[in-house]
Amino acid sequence: MANFMTCPFRFTQNLPQMTKFFEFLGLKKTISRNSGYACFQSANGYLALHASTAKIAGKTQLEFLTNDFDEAQQNLAAAGLKPQVWDEAYARHLAIQEPNQAMLWVAEAQNDFYGYQTFHPENHSPLEVVMVYYSQDFTQARDFFRHFGYFPIAEGDSWWQELHTEKQNHSGHIGLHYFEPAEVSTSFQLDFSNPVAKEVTAGKISFNTVEPLNNLLERLLSNGYQARKVEEHGTENIKVIDPDNVLIEIHTKA
């Protein structure tokens, strides 16, 4: 089976400030292009920033990366998911319809870095990225993400369940998050030309960290970020406003 890695894309009009914020939290930049794109490695999973217009700034597109694009395409087609495939300048892409009816993209991991800068971080990131998928039917969502090799870590509840892969090698975590339709949007239209005219999967990002939350909170506050520690459902987390004015949650790594 092809190996998939989570790589949610955050669209931003503040790419330098968002880069600074993610590096401050502990993510490690691996690829960038001018002020238009940056990709970061976490302890488990990736995260990308993409410059955008104000229309979609702050939105997060859920996406996977794979090193085995041909096999991924074959696996997903064999599962009846009808992948739509196209070439971009930096790598191939495919899109499939997910349970919320939006298009979920899978990108081939970049191997031609023409026009891009690459970085080779020496230190490990203290953070894991969690790619949050909104769902009203966890059974359907679990069945869907099983096609990518992700399955439940623990029992979960009716509001939240984390999925991971067996390999855990930068495959990242997926968090299933129950939602009320009035509260969140599960898709949006991209504001740049792309062959998939339909709306793409919207979600959000959160982090798990090994850094003690009190240390992290102190660092955030002393560097001017709006952050607070809260207790919810019997555990503590940090809520911080990022430079796009989006609320991010940071939990202690289990």
Partner: protein, 49 residues
């Protein structure tokens, strides 16, 4: 604008690489670059006209 349609052809890998690099240089998508190149060619006069 009409819905775009996928167009599959076989090209030399070096030509594909050159097209992709040019798209990166011009900060446009591969589809936009190839559309521009084909339109520019088709807008030239046919030989002998």
């Amino acid at each position: 604008m009409a819905t775009k349609q996928q167009f599959n052809i076989y090209l030399d890998p070096e030509l594909i690489k050159a097209l992709k690099h040019r798209a990166i240089d011009e900060s446009c998508s591969l589809s936009e670059l190839v559309t521009r190149a084909l339109n520019a060619y088709l807008n030239t006069e046919k030989e002998g006209e």
